[in-house]
Assembly symmetry: C2
Homo-oligomer: 102 residues x 2
Amino acid sequence: MPAIRLSATEIEAALASSDLSAWRLKNGKLHREYRFANFVDAFGFMSSVALHAESKNHHPEWFNVYGTVIVDLTTHDCGGVSARDLDLARTMESFAKRATRS
Amino acid sequence: MPAIRLSATEIEAALASSDLSAWRLKNGKLHREYRFANFVDAFGFMSSVALHAESKNHHPEWFNVYGTVIVDLTTHDCGGVSARDLDLARTMESFAKRATRS
């Protein structure tokens, strides 16, 4: 099923929900900056996300240096943000909470 | 042992060697853009590098989207490029060759 591009209003409504409050729309992409205690926590998080992303065939754009992971999510198929990006953002939030706890 | 900042001349001499010919100096950092066939190859490469980087306590700055991995190397301690960056660049080249082959 092709991805459907969400409107700015739809995206803002989703980002207003408590589970995605740390995300914002930046340059047309879902944007979030994570700060982990160190590289092991940061790359452990990225590895969890990578396995999930590959299984969904929906991958992030991300930058990492030491404990910092900066993420931008967009859906190439529809040229914007789709429900797939919201799903991936929610999964990343749940993985990040685990990483912080360990 | 603290890292020693290399001069531009020393860096250019190192980059002229055949094993680092794909690297260049950009914004004061060692820079290289890798293109892998897909995300599995790209993240597999990153995972190998991550384990090595952590063992050396010397980590890259890198950006990934799908099969692309863009790397910048610098040494925080000395505020420039050191032999540690050249070593990491050479290790990344050897890991990238393996990834491409698989």
